[in-house]
């Protein structure tokens, strides 16, 4: 195994995905460095969610392979946890059961998984809502539940499928700041799908720009200079603004 593979938490090698005659992904290769947040950014239909689901093991690739910590994977495993765009909470279960559900499926006993769940419910700021039901929560709170559930299984890789697209703009900004702290404090690898250029540049260590027809990685951008700055000044940073502008220039020809 080369040194390179150890540094990458996830490696996608020459992945193809066809739906009948439709080519969703063609010969796509991408590396996801350990401990960093990589965004998959692109217009709708560029296959970013498809790629994420292939990495998650929820969709089979037609050809090619996905390595997680050097091991080839083709089905879901405890090394990856998924955060869903529509939260995917069980409406019949309380917050605490939803958060503990990943552990429940892994056979962790009730008192143990609930004490873990309580810790992560606290981490995402939902203490006091343990016994509420999803329909009693706002969209933002529901996604916090989804995030707590993914964190509670303590997977080294977190897969996030447009996690903030269904919440309002203020909540979204707060989430983005929280995510930056999460990446800094948790030693996890994040793969983050988004269609928002600003969001991708703001939260990412590395942005993979995906273009459609056929889907491919057109560019990898690694914003660097503003990463260590104060969270509040990133949106004013000139490299941040330039990067957003540059990505928009690449993408605009695909938006009709």
């Amino acid at each position: 195994m080369s040194n390179d593979q150890v540094e990458n938490a996830v490696t996608v090698k020459n992945v193809y995905k066809n739906y009948g005659d439709v080519e969703a992904l063609r010969d796509l290769s991408l590396e996801f460095p350990k401990g960093q947040l990589t965004s998959l950014l692109g217009p709708s239909g560029c296959g970013k969610t498809t790629l994420l689901k292939i990495i998650a093991g929820l969709l089979p690739a037609t050809q090619g392979e996905v390595l997680v910590n050097g091991q080839q994977v083709n089905k879901p495993g405890p090394d990856r946890a998924f955060v869903f765009q529509d939260f995917a909470l069980m409406p019949w279960a309380s917050v605490i059961r939803n958060v503990a559900f990943g552990l429940e499926l892994r056979g962790v006993n009730k008192s143990e998984r609930e004490s873990i769940a309580i810790k992560y419910i606290k981490d995402v700021g939902l203490t006091g809502f343990e016994h509420s039901y999803p329909h009693e929560l706002s969209g933002g709170m529901r996604q916090r539940v989804g995030l707590a559930r993914a964190l509670s299984v303590d997977s080294p890789v977190l897969l996030m499928d447009e996690p903030f697209s269904a919440v309002d703009e203020q909540t979204r900004r707060k989430f983005q700041e929280d995510l930056l702290n999460l990446v800094k404090n948790e030693n996890k690898t994040f793969i983050f799908v988004t269609h928002s250029i600003e969001e991708a540049v703001y939260v990412s260590d590395q942005v993979a720009l995906l273009l459609p027809r056929p889907s491919r990685v057109s560019e990898i951008i690694k914003p660097s200079s503003f990463k260590n700055k104060d969270i509040n000044s990133i949106r004013k940073d000139s490299e941040y603004l330039d990067t957003v502008e540059r990505i928009w220039k690449s993408l605009r020809s695909y938006v009709e």
Partner: protein, 251 residues
């Protein structure tokens, strides 16, 4: 319902129909239609008679056994059909056929296969109830939020876990709707079976009273049956409303 701005309690219209019935009964329009008060006084006389209690027990037993099998077999079958395309292709034509088939015509066949006793009655009751339960469970599963299934899979749910912890619960509103209609059909089924297979239970009472033109007795038993079916259906309806909130949250 509102009348002149006043909110009337549920089913107030029954009072009106009851009054009309009483008037027509008192006018002796037809021997078939005795006054409602006479029916209720007959009901007061027979409800603790041995024959009535035995009929109630026999019918209740067959009914409960019939719906038990309909639920125990119907719900898992429906869920599996909703999950599995192959199974669905195999079974759906049969389910649809039996759903609309005149099951009464099948009863003689069941008598040949299973005899003239309780077994045939229970099977008939099950056959009346099961198809709608299967179809509704299937429909419930087919509109499950796809990402809930992905979620369970991403955390490594075994098929049995996914079945019990996701599919069943996610389809519960539709399943309960199906069970409710199934129960109502089972009431029909158990009486038809008792009339055709062996003359027991309420079926026997209907047979006895109508052959002797005991119309007040006949109606009294019908009213009891209606009240039982109605109560059962309302109870299930209440249960269904309890889980409605999450059916509407699905997208």
């Amino acid at each position: 319902m509102y009348l002149f701005g006043y909110r009337l309690p549920g089913m107030s219209s029954l009072i009106l129909w009851g009054l009309l019935w009483e008037i027509l009964g008192q006018m002796e329009v037809s021997f078939f239609l005795p006054p409602l008060t006479a029916i209720f006084s007959t009901l007061g006389e027979i409800y603790n008679s041995k024959a009535f209690i035995r009929a109630l027990y026999e019918t209740g037993y067959s009914f409960l056994a019939g719906v038990f099998f309909a639920v125990i077999i119907g719900i898992p079958t429906g869920i599996l059909m909703g999950k599995n395309k192959l199974l669905d292709e195999l079974l759906l034509p049969w389910v649809n056929t039996f759903m609309s088939a005149p099951l009464t015509a099948l009863v003689p066949v069941l008598m040949v296969l299973f005899g003239f006793g309780l077994k045939s009655i229970i099977i008939t009751t099950t056959l009346f109830a099961i198809w709608i339960i299967i179809l509704n469970s299937r429909a419930g599963v087919m509109q499950i939020n796809r990402s809930l299934v992905d979620m369970a899979n991403s955390f490594g749910a075994s098929p049995i876990d996914a079945f019990i912890k996701i599919y069943f619960w996610a389809a519960l509103p539709e399943i309960l709707g199906g069970v409710r209609i199934g129960f109502i059909r089972a009431v029909k089924g158990v009486i038809i079976a008792q009339l055709l297979i062996s003359i027991v239970g309420f079926g026997a009472l209907f047979e006895l009273y109508s052959s002797r033109f005991l119309m007040t007795h006949f109606w009294a038993v019908i009213i009891v049956l209606f009240a039982l079916a109605f109560t059962l259906s309302e109870l299930l309806g209440m249960l269904a409303r309890k889980v409605d909130y999450y059916a509407s949250k699905r997208n």
